[in-house]
């Protein structure tokens, strides 16, 4: 592949554009996951500034389950590992 002829200007734009969209997608996935798991796992009275053991294990499981939902929806939409 590295030996093939260099991409044209338009192809380059498309490669950059796709890489940018892909990164935006991952950032948004991470942000939504972070917000959602915070709402589900962290008590919002903020009686202390540390995460307690229950919160920490809830967060780990929440991330794991969110990831599975992401993959499951990706399969339903016709690909194997999420949208890309």
């Amino acid at each position: 592949m590295a030996a093939s002829k260099p991409p044209s200007a338009l192809e380059k734009e498309q490669i950059f554009g796709m890489a940018e969209k892909e990164m935006e997608y991952r950032v948004e996935l991470f942000n939504k996951l972070t917000q959602t798991c915070f709402s589900k796992c962290v008590e919002n009275r903020y009686k202390e500034s540390e995460l307690n053991m229950g919160e920490n294990s809830c967060i780990d499981r929440c991330v794991s389950k969110y990831w599975q939902v992401n993959n499951l929806v990706g399969q339903l939409l016709g690909n194997n590992q999420g949208p890309m």
Partner: protein, 93 residues
Amino acid sequence: MDKSMLADLDSLPEEDKVRMSTMIDQLQIRDSLRMYNSLVERCFTDCVDTFRRKTLDKQEETCVRRCAEKFLKHSMRVGMRFAELNQGAATPD
């Protein structure tokens, strides 16, 4: 996009039309990835509420499947209605 703008676009040379269609493609890709993320967030929020295990149980998985299917059907229906209204808005009526 209103007509005067499209008229301007017609007067653009070929390379600009290519650029415009690339832009439209890119926006559609971004849009479908965003919709995908929103769907995942909604189905997760509605279907997953217990965190005693790190894997989805059968019930949660069924809920997520139905949620995603319903959302996609909903989204297609909204798309059709939305297109009808967009066209209607352009005619005198």
